[in-house]
Amino acid sequence: MSIIGFLIPIALFLGGLGVIAFIWCVRSNQYEDLEGAAWRILEDEDEPPGQGPGRGGRGG
């Protein structure tokens, strides 16, 4: 049974990473424009670097 002493902390750690990643996504406005992202994938031209939705503050 001592295996759960390792497994549970590992599971919680990995899950915690997931939550942190999710909160980061929300913070950096990744969920701001769900419609636009679906169309952008069809664009051939690459965006200049550093133009993610996080930039440009709240206007995006």
Partner: protein, 746 residues
């Protein structure tokens, strides 16, 4: 209320105001990194091609660092290095592509809406993480009951669950706790009160069980419950946010400004609500008057349709009173702003609206009405369980409390809390796809009770713009000449002419004579287009007005040719007849209330087969009539678009406006529908009725679940396993039932 109302109401403009370069400059901001930034609201962008056209065009401008269009909110953010003045050029570039764009201040628009939604989303994420992990641990515990898990291992798993669940509940439960606390402080209750009580008690009891090494802990129920409810709440707020963003956009696109003439010469442009009484303002032809006032100089005619519903332009001269919201047609006017006090039409309308809104503010959402009965019953049953177990059966009080809390957990209104939002989210999503925006959260419930539909005429049943009558009988050459001249004018009738013959090129040398018409000098002589008496002045041959009802008309006089008349009519919307007929077929009483003249109103009522109509009704009379209908026990849907409709919209049981409406009407209406189709009203009522049916079914389902589960809990048979299974299955059942609304109606 009054301050914001005055600000909003003073700029009701249907047409897009041409945006001046100096207006754009005011919205250019400096970013921390030294670049300039501008935010624009862009209309008409719908797909990926629009994104790349706009963004690429902007990026080609020298100095532009970033250009990003958000397709969900239609907001465009541009940042550039260089001069502040480049903002105007960038704005012009977007407009040249064919997308009307208006600058806005993001700080002002980003009210609580977006921040609240992000917070909700974070709560969903945290609750989801906790629910998944606690559930894994719980399944281990449940299997342990069947097999032979030692109390030590079980205790460890319970402690781990507590470690995950308690912080998660404290974090993700905030939306419910604050709302419940607010309700309790206002001495009412809502759905969040039983939710908060149930979740808090479940956690507290589970913690004490864990400390006492007891067999049962309900951490999984508490967090799963929160997770489900948060999903419902997030979807709900997202759907509402969509509608709100669309309405904000429509209003911004219509924001108008007033040109004030300074006493010492020069002029300033300012928002209508900043104009002081006594100031002289200048209103160019084609502009809407932003204030109530008196004409100092100039003669012109005014389109009063927004204010009075009157469809014919009225002539005005110095000394006449004019009202905010009317459209100046012919020539520039100087207007003295009168006291913005209690006497103005605008504040009168504002007062009426406020009264009506107070009355309607008392409407309580169905879920909250149910919970008023639900919460006391549930809490009484829990108390009863505790008393009976402790004093009748004679177990120790901790066991009695355990069973009582099990009752609270099992009755925690998971299904009930999802029953309404799930249906509402799907219904508003379905309506949104058809251009119908639900502004008020209780609009659907109120729509379902509607049995009477009252329409305004101008701009609602009719398209609200004059169209040329008998186009086939007008000689093509005369029409082309007239349309080419009319290109230089902003008069409504001139626009009607251009609309009838849009492909001509504008003629040079056309002069506009204020209050009269247009003149073009040609080698053969003067060509006149305008008022009959003026255009036909001195002509040997005087044309006769064709028989039939009096319609707005303009005359074209050419040297050496007979005069030609153009007559105009405000046509019905294309599907007006079909809509009214369908409404009557479905058993609705249809009425027509108009501020226009009786003969015009009678004609429209006759064409549409509306038996109940009244003409010449002002804002107060409309409100009174609607209140009378309400006293008769009728639930009225009011559909209107003008300033004069705003109080009536607020007074009706529920109200709708076309998106072309004056923005004060859109503020007052519960529902805004886009596009030219009036059939949106039918769809709205159909979806509302179907939604109401599903909500009731869902209520029955969740109450049926409680009737089954509560006795089990009271006799102490509900273990955490049973609680988890029954709660999840009833929630899924309710959501599945709601999803039936997403299917197109048969």
């Amino acid at each position: 209320m009054n301050a914001t109302l005055a600000g909003r109401a003073a700029d009701p403009t249907i047409e897009l105001q041409p945006t001046r370069p100096d207006d754009i400059q005011a919205f250019v901001r400096r970013q921390p990194d030294g670049a300039w930034a501008l935010d624009l609201m862009v209309e008409g962008a719908h797909c990926g091609a629009c994104i790349s056209r706009i963004e690429r065009t902007l990026r080609r401008h020298p100095g532009v660092q970033a250009a990003r269009l958000n397709l969900s909110t239609r907001r465009l953010h541009v940042a550039w290095q260089g001069a502040r003045e480049d903002g105007a050029a960038l704005h012009a570039a977007v407009e040249e592509l064919g997308y009307p764009a208006v600058a806005f201040d993001p700080e002002r628009l980003e009210a609580d809406g977006a921040a609240g939604q992000q917070d909700l989303l974070r709560c969903v994420g945290v609750a989801g993480f906790a629910a998944a992990n606690v559930m894994i641990l719980s399944i281990a515990v449940w299997s342990g009951h069947a097999l032979d898990m030692g109390p030590g291992t079980r205790g460890l798993l319970h402690w781990l669950s507590a470690l995950i669940a308690l912080p998660a509940v404290a974090y993700a439960g905030r939306p419910f706790f604050t709302s419940a606390w607010r309700a309790l402080r206002a001495r009412t209750t809502n759905m969040d009160v039983p939710i908060s009580v149930g979740v808090t008690l479940a956690c507290a009891m589970s913690l004490s069980e864990t400390i006492r090494h007891g067999p049962y802990a309900y951490f999984d129920s508490a967090v799963t419950l929160l997770f489900f409810l948060l999903i419902g709440r997030y979807l709900d707020s997202r759907a509402r946010g969509h509608a709100r963003a669309a309405i904000e956009r429509l209003m911004l696109l219509r924001a108008a400004r007033v040109t004030v003439l300074e006493p010492h010469g020069g002029q300033t442009v300012m928002a209508a609500d900043q104009v002081r009484p006594g100031a002289i303002i200048l209103v160019a032809p084609g502009e809407r008057i932003g204030v109530d006032g008196r004409i100092v100089s100039g003669t012109s005619s005014l389109d009063n349709s927004l204010v009075s519903g009157e469809s014919l332009p009225a002539a005005v001269e110095p000394g006449d009173r004019v009202y905010a919201g009317t459209l100046n047609l012919d020539s520039a006017l100087r207007i003295e702003t009168l006291a913005v006090g209690e006497a103005t039409l605008l504040s009168e309308i504002g007062r009426l609206m406020e009264l009506a809104e107070q009355r309607r503010g008392r409407y309580v959402a169905l879920a909250d009405r149910v919970s008023r009965y639900y919460a006391p019953v549930v809490h009484f049953l829990a108390l009863l369980t505790f008393l009976v177990w402790t004093f009748q059966v004679g177990v120790i009080w901790q066991i009695g409390l355990l069973h009582a809390v099990a009752v609270l957990i099992i009755t925690c209104p998971c299904a009930l809390g999802l029953a309404v939002p799930a249906v509402q989210v799907i219904a508003s999503g379905r309506l949104l796809r058809q251009g119908v925006l639900l502004k008020s959260p209780t609009a659907l419930e109120r729509l379902a009770a509607v049995d009477t539909v009252v329409f305004d005429k101008t701009g609602t049943l009719t398209a609200g713009r004059p169209e040329l009558v008998d186009r086939d009988r007008v000689p093509e050459a005369a029409l082309e000449l007239a349309a080419a001249m009319a290109m230089s004018s902003k008069h409504v009738l001139a626009r009607g002419l251009v609309a009838a013959c849009p492909d001509v090129a504008a003629l040079d040398g056309v002069r506009e004579i204020p209050g009269r018409g247009l003149v073009l000098a040609t080698p053969e002589g003067e060509v006149r287009l305008g008022q009959r008496d003026w255009a036909l002045e001195g002509l040997a041959e005087v044309g006769a007005t064709p028989d039939g009802p009096a319609l707005p008309e303009i005359w074209l006089a050419r040297p050496g040719q007979p005069p030609q008349v153009f007559r105009f009519e405000d046509r019905l919307r294309e599907d007006a007849l079909a809509t009214v007929r369908a409404l009557k077929d479905r058993g609705f009483r249809v009425e027509l209330l108009s501020g226009d003249r009786p003969e015009v109103t009678a004609k429209v009522a006759g064409q549409l087969g509306i038996a109940h109509w009244r003409a010449g009704v002002g804002p107060t009379a409309k409100t009174v009539h609607l209140q009378a209908l309400g006293r008769d026990g009728r639930h009225v849907l009011m559909v209107g678009d003008g300033l004069n409709d705003a109080p009536a919209l607020a007074a009706a049981h529920v109200s709708a406006s076309p998106s072309t409406a004056a923005d004060i009407s859109q503020t007052a209406a519960d529902v805004v529908f886009q596009g030219q189709r009036l059939g949106a009203v039918l769809e709205l009522l159909a979806v509302a009725q179907k939604a109401e049916r599903l909500v009731r079914q869902n209520m029955v389902l969740s109450i049926g679940y409680n009737v089954l589960a509560v006795p089990l809990a009271m006799i102490g048979l509900v273990t955490p396993l049973i609680a988890a299974v029954t709660m999840s299955s009833s929630s899924l059942l309710v959501v599945g039932n709601a999803l039936r609304l997403a299917r197109p109606s048969r």
